[in-house]
Assembly symmetry: C2
Homo-oligomer: 338 residues x 2
């Protein structure tokens, strides 16, 4: 098995650098063919790395002097942060020294920098952020989750194409179905942009277009790929996360309501743990910056080590499955047959 080299923005995220290093070590325990390029502050990272000897053995550390924190605007991030952990980690992929980059830092800055440094893949108009969400049938790809707050019909069409390529790898489906998120499943409803995108997708023989889907179709798993603009996708993702927490908290309170319920919860604890595992956002951590000339994965900023490890494994899997060449090939195939 070939070694996969991953560049980590060790300073990115609410609980960096501790969670990043701990997460990388957890990932390494689950998958042995990983090596890491670590970018971060010498003061903070060096001493912490001593606590993770297994990780240290397969890592190279590169000291950086700047950190892009959550308040930095994307437009500011692309200037004046040349020696930040985020910029240098992305640069390692552009220089072919790493196969993929992972950051839990400022999403807007990460996207802007990744576009600037890695560039867009050939044929891509605008990259998008995609992730897998759990559904009644397994999981579905949802995009865009926030890279583009305003999208025109052509962008939505392209999200459908790159989302389908990602779904074919991540869900192992040969002809993944694609739905456009709308406020009604009838043809006549919704925004003009979305209706125009639907027309384009109906005419696009490279996409297995299902039609419009609604918000509840995400969790139902009606389609393999749900396409929407970055504003709506971000709200939908966070609404789903908030709702899971609401239900789980309400369940917890209900199961503590009486000694009988507490006994019941004790007996059912294995089942309840399965529920938690299946819906735990940490197990679905690792959004992809789809459409770049390089693999870039975004971890949730507030994640713990378990979640960060998951993002690392997602990146490794995309490298192994050759996400980037497959997207480029699919877009070329589409253009060729136009």
């Amino acid at each position: 098995m070939d070694t996969i080299t991953l560049a980590l923005d060790v300073m990115g995220g609410d609980n960096a650098p501790a969670v990043v290093l701990h997460g990388a070590e957890l990932a390494l325990k689950r998958q042995r063919n990983l090596s890491f390029l670590l970018f971060g502050s010498e003061n903070e990272v060096k001493s912490l790395l001593d606590l993770h000897p297994e990780l240290a053995k397969v890592s190279q550390f590169y000291p950086t002097t700047q950190v892009i924190d959550a308040e930095v605007k994307p437009s500011a991030a692309v200037r004046g942060y040349a020696d930040s952990s985020m910029v240098r980690a992305i640069q390692a992929v552009a220089d072919k020294r790493a196969d993929a980059v992972i950051s839990a830092g400022n999403t807007g800055a990460y996207m802007a920098l990744a576009m600037m440094i890695l560039k867009r893949a050939a044929g891509i108009q605008r990259p998008a952020i995609a992730t897998l969400l759990p559904t009644l049938k397994g999981a579905s790809v949802v995009l865009d989750l926030g890279a583009n707050v305003e999208c025109d019909a052509e962008m939505l069409e392209q999200f459908a194409v790159i989302g389908a390529v990602y779904a074919s790898l991540a869900l192992h489906k040969t002809q993944p179905t694609v739905g456009l998120l709308n406020v009604g499943s009838e043809d006549l409803k919704g925004k003009d942009t979305v209706k125009e995108a639907a027309q384009r997708l109906r005419a696009n023989s490279h996409v297995n277009f299902f039609g419009f889907v609604e918000g509840d179709d995400i969790a139902k798993g009606t389609v393999d790929v749900v396409v929407t603009d970055g504003f709506t996708g971000n709200v939908a993702l966070k609404t789903a996360e908030g709702t899971v927490r609401l239900v789980v908290e309400t369940l917890r309170a209900a199961l503590r309501g009486s000694w009988l319920a507490r006994c019941g919860a004790l007996l059912a604890r294995r089942g309840l743990r399965q529920l938690k595992d299946r819906l735990d956002p940490r197990n679905h951590n690792g959004a992809i910056l789809l459409g770049l000339d390089g693999v870039a994965v975004k971890s949730h900023g507030g994640t713990d080590a378990h979640g960060f490890a998951n993002a690392v494994l997602v990146a490794a899997d995309l490298v192994k499955q050759q996400l980037k060449p497959r997207i480029i090939a699919e877009l070329a195939r589409m253009r060729g047959s136009d």
Copy 2:
């Protein structure tokens, strides 16, 4: 206690007319001071009404010859459906023969007809659809849920005002907090329209403006009123509904996974029932068409009798609490101090 007269579109909804009549009777059992004007097809409704003698006693039946089904466009609904159950039920409120109208029918048609027949309340630019959603802290008002798929900043500002009036009645809060749904809580993120609306709200002394909120803040109950455009609001509402179903189904499967888990579920069944009651969308059924010169409540199209009864009781409560005059007074007060 004064009698409240409610006009029912008996033919509206997936399971009409049976669910509508059954729901009205359930509502009547919980609140005795109701009387009904029933609009629907003589053939279908008359015989069904014999099964609900309690309801029949406090109802007047008006035969109608047309039904506006789910496929009718709003633009078509406002012409050529003068003798439909929906039009005539709304007309009863305009004619002051009923205090409020309830329909589980075609939402777009209902909104268009209600605007045409009831007109907008004085000072209202565009009415919105609002509902209460369960949160970790109790419940919050969310609007717009789909009346306006595209919204400018001024519309969003007005939704904040009318949403706050509704929250003050429905949640019994004197200064309800209002948040604008966005993709980040930082000032610099998001759509231009949303940023402009935030500026307007910061300058509006009649609104207790909290700032931006994100999708997960809905379930957290961060604010009393969540304001968004009708496209995003509709997707968020349906995403939340779908997610609740996903968690509950996953829980159900987990609790059936072993005999131990089944025993546990049996012991904890009262707690589990509480969970279901609290999150059951039927218990939150009844969205308000806010900003009309009359009270109009929309029931979920696919609801059962229990859910329809809830929508009826929501309408009765808004009549009792004088929603309409209060909204008009608040808007007048705002204009007076500009």
